[in-house]
């Protein structure tokens, strides 16, 4: 990737750049452009070219500016790039700004129905008279708006070399069995394509060419992977309250669970998905179900997290297995509901008043979204506590390439649960059973579920002080013992949660720690920095509380950059709180503007210090 660093990220002169540029499509939301963009991505993917799409959409249903970036990268980079080389300009309210952003040598494909004539002469412009082209079709007026964006799909295909056959195949996959829809869209795409073929005589310097890099891979959104993971985790109850960008976790769970978990004979469901009246109720239902012995989860985002605080504290203190997916968006407050962020790390980790701490899993890609989807339940039931999975809008709602997911390699771990018979044995062995009685020394007691037919199975769950027999207590020593056990219990998870992924090089100049969707940018930055003769060891953290490996990693480096997509450098703070003695080795690279991280930002930030 050295070339990218040396040359500015631009097309220069007549040189053709193949499979290494970023397209930005500027449209108006609610006009079907999402289908068009996903067609472009899927078609590129079918051509074997590594690709990634990011939707930058407004908090609104229809009529506002929306951008979609599509990165084509022969080297397989999937992070966002700051510069876009190819612009598809369909939105008259942003076209002036959109064109300004193009680098010299960039390509602008624009709807010439917009009364605006691009004036820059350092870019290549291609006009699409979209309405005129639509006039050639016999598409009904009422449908026109919904398909007119297909024009740019066709024109773009011609301009940069996307194969029409792959577009058609993608259409078929998108609308399986709906030949009419496919034909209608295809007819418009072909017109766009034909128009471009006839009228664009200057070739685009940015082109795609078939590769073989996507075989055996698939495209998916993180929220779908999460839902599929939960499905293979055997989720029994999901309660949720709609909120962007988390809603599609529930939507996808409905889809997958109705596929796999409807009893063939009776047509009945072995799961319940309940739309709650708010987030307080959603998490309440999760706790009720988790307490009753089910695998229960909710999915939400910032404002919902805030509302779940009180119950989160209760889950920790009363030790109720439960799972919250937090698909992070930009806060504080309602913030930017349709922008991505890693800003809820601290809030989630310590959610609730008093001294609280929650296990957090930090997926960075689809495979982990799937894996943590099922594993979160194992962990929640094993440690009898609330488990957060902190995804974000970027991972959750964008299309990512992935290898197929691995089937869970372990049977479900339901944790320490005693049925009536086991309860008898337990009592035989330990004289008495106590819900919070730590007989194994790991801080984890044994549960007996409601409905267990045993006269001693019952206990009382509460958020107030209680002893190991689950009896109410205001005693000071009991409180300290209980909190100490709880602290130890969570600490005991440190080496049992998903461990950090470490990639080392010989004689690294420094270390980098990151988590979640910052990963692709770090990976790309690593290659770019190599061009500056700077190399680093990279640790990607995958869970809180931190693994002991984090200390070792930091101890092995004089300088460790902590890269994260938030304002306050929250992971860095967590590391410092855990390892104050290593604090001076850390440098925080924290930034949050709502857009996914770029390699350039990391490179620039590091180079400022090095």
């Amino acid at each position: 990737m050295a070339d990218v660093l040396q040359a500015p990220e631009q097309a220069v002169g007549d040189e053709t750049i193949v499979n290494d540029f970023q397209i930005i499509v500027a449209t108006v939301n609610g006009t079907g452009s999402q289908t068009s963009n996903s067609l472009v991505i899927r078609s590129l993917f079918r051509m074997g070219i590594p690709v990634n799409g990011k939707n930058i959409f407004p908090s609104n249903i229809k009529g506002l500016q929306t951008w979609y970036t599509i990165r084509v990268s022969k080297d397989g980079y999937v992070a966002r790039k700051e510069e876009n080389q190819v612009l598809v300009a369909m939105n008259k309210s942003t076209i002036i700004e959109d064109i300004k952003q193009l680098p010299a040598g960039g390509v602008c494909l624009y709807d010439s129905g917009i009364r605006y004539e691009p004036t820059r002469d350092d870019i290549l412009t291609y006009a699409m008279p979209v309405d005129d082209i639509m006039d050639q079709t016999d598409v009904k007026r009422s449908l026109r708006e919904r398909v007119r964006n297909m024009v740019y799909v066709g024109a773009l295909a011609s301009l940069i070399g996307i194969e029409l056959a792959e577009i058609e195949a993608s259409l078929n996959a998108e609308f399986p069995g709906k030949q009419k829809v496919v034909d209608l869209n295809m007819s418009v795409i072909k017109l766009g394509h034909a128009y471009a073929e006839e009228n664009y005589d200057r070739p685009s310097p940015f082109r795609v060419e078939r590769m073989d890099e996507t075989k055996g891979k698939l495209l998916m959104e993180g929220n779908a992977a999460a839902a599929l993971g939960a499905t293979f985790g055997g989720v029994q109850m999901l309660s949720w309250y709609p909120i962007t960008p988390s809603s599609s976790v529930a939507d996808n769970a409905m889809k997958y669970l109705s596929k796999f978990r409807i009893d063939k004979e009776t047509g009945k469901a072995s799961y319940a998905i309940i739309q709650a009246e708010d987030e307080l109720a959603a998490i309440g239902m999760v706790l009720g179900a988790g307490w009753a012995g089910a695998r229960a989860m909710t999915a939400t985002s910032g404002p919902g997290i805030s509302l779940m605080s009180e119950f989160a504290g209760m889950a920790y203190f009363a030790e109720i297995p439960s799972v919250i997916w937090n698909i992070q968006r930009v806060g504080p407050s309602t913030g930017l509901p349709t922008r991505t962020s890693q800003g809820d790390l601290l809030a989630s980790y310590m959610l609730g008043h008093g001294d609280t701490q929650h296990i957090c899993l930090l997926p960075a890609n689809l495979k982990e979204a799937f894996e943590f989807g099922w594993r979160a339940f194992d962990i929640a039931e094993r440690f009898q506590t609330l488990v957060f999975v902190l995804s974000d809008l970027d991972l959750g709602m964008n299309l990512w390439m992935t290898e197929p997911f691995d089937y869970p390699d372990e049977p479900m771990d339901r944790g320490k649960v005693l049925n009536a018979e086991q309860l008898n044995e337990h009592i035989k062995e330990y004289k008495r059973w106590g819900r919070y009685h730590d007989v194994d020394g790991d801080g984890i007691g044994y549960r007996a579920l409601p409905g267990t037919p045993h006269p001693q199975a019952a206990y009382f769950t509460r958020g107030t002080g209680h002893d190991e027999w689950a009896v109410y207590s205001e005693n000071s020593d009991v409180w300290v013992e209980n909190l100490t056990r709880l602290t130890n219990k969570i600490a005991g998870s440190r080496d049992k949660l998903p461990q950090p992924i470490v990639e080392t090089v010989d004689a690294a100049d420094f270390g980098v720690i990151a988590f979640g969707t910052v990963d692709p940018a770090v990976v790309e930055a690593r290659d770019r920095l190599a061009a500056h003769d700077k190399t680093f060891d990279y640790m990607r953290v995958r869970a809180l509380p931190l693994s002991p490996a984090v200390r070792e990693f930091i101890e092995a480096h004089d300088t460790v950059y902590v890269v994260e997509n938030n304002f306050d450098g929250q992971l860095a703070k967590i590391i410092i709180m855990d390892y104050p003695e290593l604090a001076t080795r850390l440098k925080s690279i924290a930034y949050l503007d709502g857009l996914p991280f770029t390699a350039k930002f990391i490179v620039d930030s590091i180079m400022e210090h090095e």
Partner: protein
């Protein structure tokens, strides 16, 4: 030897820990009535879950059915916890206990929505018009004009729990008084047998903070102003006792209204004045409750009953087996299933 019920359990087996509520508190009476009812109905204790919010009332589940699991949740949030538990284990019998503050103030939203979902669950409001545990502030059910030592006269209109329940879509709504043990027990039995959400608004005086002469929720006021709709009797299911074919869940016989419960047991409503009261008439129920409200009477009895409402389990189309009883074989789809999905997405 102590008497036992058909499960060979003594009444003691249905008791809980010693109450730490004030002597004379209405809530203690209700706990006792729950104990008696469960004993009389010979309910298997392990099948019961006790749920509550926060308050003196919400503490009381610790004082009955010690052999049943309990979940003392958060203030105002008992309904959601109950919904979650019942969603995943339909074989349980849920008894929720809340207070007027817990339900009428902070819990209003969850109260309203658990009724919409018709979660099979008994929802008792131990209604004393004040926040007992925090020492006597007016709650949302305090009547207008009632004074409190430290908080002056309440000037806001009272939330009428029963009216809110009927309007909100509850399928079983009753009101009673902690000092009317027979009525409470009969209604409680019916509520337990009801296949849906059963709201029991039980006036339960707080001797510490709201038992003054000026209070409409004092023992003396309530006793003097009871307006008993009918005499309620609960008759457990007796197979073959009756060979008349009936389609209706509610019917009149010799001036008595008979309400068939879901499992064949029955509630008999004996009229106490000229007219018999048909609890399935929603509009009439609203009228009666409204009228009692206006005249500051405590109207007790089975106010409203809607037998055919679909429950949460129906709407969610759940299998008969409690979800918690399912094994990994059912819960986790096969490797082939995953591979198939992956394959589909690869094309």
């Amino acid at each position: 030897m102590a008497k036992t019920n058909t499960l060979d359990l003594t009444k003691n087996d249905y008791k809980g820990r010693p109450s730490t509520l004030c002597p004379g508190c209405g809530h203690n009476a209700i706990s006792n009535q729950i104990i008696s009812t469960a004993y009389d109905m010979a309910i298997e204790p392990h099948r019961v879950i006790k749920l509550s919010g926060i308050g003196c009332s919400s503490k009381s589940p610790a004082y009955f059915l010690g052999r049943s699991h309990g979940f003392n949740a958060l203030h105002g949030r008992m309904p959601s916890v109950g919904t979650g538990a019942m969603a995943v284990n339909r074989s349980l019998i849920a008894i929720g206990v809340s207070g007027d503050g817990d339900t009428g103030s902070i819990g209003m939203g969850q109260f309203k929505h658990v009724m919409r979902r018709n979660v099979p669950m008994v929802y008792i409001i131990e209604n004393n018009g004040v926040y007992g545990l925090t020492k006597g502030q007016h709650s949302a059910t305090q009547d207008e004009g009632v004074p409190q030592k430290y908080y002056g006269i309440n000037e806001y209109p009272a939330v009428d729990i029963a009216l809110e329940a009927i309007v909100g879509g509850a399928s079983f709504v009753a009101r009673s008084f902690s000092g009317s043990p027979r009525e409470v027990q009969a209604l409680l039995s019916a509520a337990i047998r009801h296949n849906g959400l059963a709201v029991l608004d039980i006036i339960s005086p707080c001797v510490a903070f709201n038992d003054t002469d000026a209070s409409t929720k004092s023992y003396s006021y309530v006793r003097e102003n009871l307006d008993v709709l009918h005499e309620v009797e609960f008759v457990g299911y007796v197979p073959q006792a009756e060979n008349i074919e009936i389609d209706e869940r509610t019917y009149e016989r010799q001036g008595e209204i008979l309400v068939e419960m879901h499992d064949g047991s029955r509630v008999v409503l004996k009229r106490v004045d000229e007219d018999s009261y048909d609890p399935t008439n929603r509009h009439e129920a609203i009228r009666q409750v409204e009228e009692a409200r206006r005249s500051n009477k405590i109207l007790t009895g089975l106010l409203y009953f809607e037998p055919e409402r679909r429950t949460l389990h129906d709407v969610e189309n759940l299998i008969d087996t409690p979800l918690v009883d399912l094994g990994e074989d059912v819960l986790r789809p096969s490797k082939e299933a995953l591979d198939e999905i992956m394959q589909e997405m690869m094309i």
